[in-house]
Amino acid sequence: MADYELVAHTHKIADVKAPCFAPLSTMTLLVIIFATVLAASCTFGQFGISCTTLLHSVILKLTGNCEQITHAVDTVIFKIRLPRIAVASIIGGAMALAGASYQGTFKNPMVSPDILGASAGAGFGAAIAILFSFNMFFIQVSAFALSLIAVSLTLLVSRIIAKGSTAIIAMILTGMIVTSLFSALISIIKYVADPESKLPEITFWLMGGLGSANSSDVLFLLPTITLGAVPLLLVSWRMNILSLGDDEAESLGIDIMKLRLLVIACSTLLTASCVSICGLVGWVGLIIPHISRLIVGPDFHKLLPVSILVGAIFLVIVDDVARCLFSVEIPLGIITSIIGAPFFMYMLIKGKKGWI
């Protein structure tokens, strides 16, 4: 039996280079699309701004000749549209990133923060904070805490149902239960809220929208989003291994408890930050990673940056539709749901074995 030997085969191993993040061409293309969408979005709206006016004003602004821009144009572009578009891209990117990371940790392409109850939890947390007139910071803290509680509850109960394993059907059903529980709690808050002031505030906020987005929101989002996103991008390659299952990941030298905790905490922070700014905008975390996977494949190291860009592009476009389609603004969450629900159905129908 000792005759067997490992003989190097004749295939030539070409000089191998480790690719960095996503293929450069894909990223470049996405960045160009993103920039185009950004510029186009600045021109859309009731106050007409032509491309040349936009270009002219931006150049003037960059060269420091602000006083030459007319007051109306300055307000519309730099005080209203640009901050709103910035918030939309940050939130779109963050929600897509959170969704992709959830799918990796839970070893399933069909989960997202809204399905596991994270959004409903965050919604409840924020609704309470609004009821008690807390400031933005506490709205965010409260949204994060309850979001984490909701996800933990889903995981705990689904583990009990599935007897220790992570059966996805148990997870989705438990997510539904937790979501409906927190929706009921949100209803209680709405019921007791002052119908003159607090109730409309909570209601509009829950429908999801960026109507009130301004530049302070951008400043507010940046630190928390960075805090959530950077660790996820750093461990992105390891998410590949996490998605194989616990035993295998552990045998490859991954401390699964620590890594999973990190990923869940960071993604939940991203979700909660988004929810506290724009209300309940569902489905982005589910749809975008799927589309991105079609573009670059399942390797999380490439998937996460692409998801961020695609998510940003998607939400900016959807927000354009929300504010421009009718003379009255449509809540953002309604549009993402109208797009998301049929997409999810399509995925379930076309889905591969083992997704459920």
């Binding site: 191993i13 490859l252 030298g253």
Partner: protein, 261 residues
């Protein structure tokens, strides 16, 4: 690199499925775990891998108890090839093999050119470099098993644990995988594998642990342990063991179960 298992009892929830197993494996040796379904073979593997705490006794590598080792350190010594399965994500073969490098890469880093090279060399050693860009979920069972072996090679461990490496493979692929197992052992790797085919212990000229429900496990060379009597005791069916000779004079054994009717 010696693996010593000293008086080990293992099982779930403090209930020992296996008791008082002691054995040693040296580099280049193959150990086959034989025994009926549900007797605790996988539990035994999981205890060596550190997924389960031993109830009693210890597992030592180079004389040191592995109990408190961090996962990453353990993964540089012990590799694991799970039973064939399908990942929910359609990773490429290269992606899968690269995962074997995780134990050698920093927690926040990604594989470098060196790791890519190691991965390609592992694929090349098994003669499956041409599968590099293929989607692993679309491969046949035999090819998939080879990809896992390649991943274990790129992990550069000293000990390799395989959970039924030949289950769900056709006749030809079983033989191919067994050849590779022998080839890996000849490079100095210690291999522990579970199997349902007693023949495999002869084909790999292995040490055997035969686990029975009633008696103490029997440990020793394949020729001493895999006997008609012992197999009957373990599996409850009558077995005939044939000896035959190849043209070059090598003796081979084969086990044939005798059916009741």
């Amino acid at each position: 690199m010696k693996l010593e298992i000293d008086n080990l009892s293992c099982g779930y929830n403090k209930k020992a499925a296996l008791k008082n197993i002691s054995l040693k494996i040296s580099p280049g040796e193959i150990l086959c775990l034989l025994g009926p379904n549900g007797v605790g073979k996988t539990t035994f593997l999981k205890t060596i891998l550190g997924f389960l705490e031993p109830i009693e006794g210890e597992v030592r590598i180079e004389g040191k108890n592995i109990r408190s080792w961090p996962k990453k350190k353990l993964a540089r010594y012990v590799g694991y090839i799970p039973q064939a399965h399908a990942s929910p994500f359609p990773f490429s073969v290269m992606d899968i093999v690269l995962m074997g490098r995780a134990a050698h890469i920093g927690n926040f880093s990604k594989p470098s050119a060196h790791d890519y090279r190691e991965a390609e060399e592992s694929l090349d050693k098994l003669g499956i470099l041409h599968l590099r860009e293929r989607i692993y979920t679309e491969l046949s069972g035999g090819e998939r098993q080879m990809v896992f072996i390649a991943r274990a090679i790129s992990q550069k461990t000293h000990i390799l644990l395989m959970d039924e490496p030949t289950s769900s493979l056709d006749f030809g692929n079983q033989a191919r995988v067994l050849s590779q197992i022998n080839a890996l052992a000849s490079t100095g790797l210690s291999i522990i594998m579970t199997t349902h085919a007693p023949d495999h212990s002869f084909l790999c000229s292995a040490q055997v642990v035969l686990i029975c429900r009633k008696n103490e496990p029997r440990i020793g060379n394949a020729e001493d342990i895999v006997t008609e009597n012992n197999l009957h005791g373990a599996y409850g069916v009558k077995v005939k063991i044939n000896e035959s000779y190849l043209d070059n004079g090598t003796k081979i054994h084969s086990c044939i179960p005798l059916l009741d009717n």
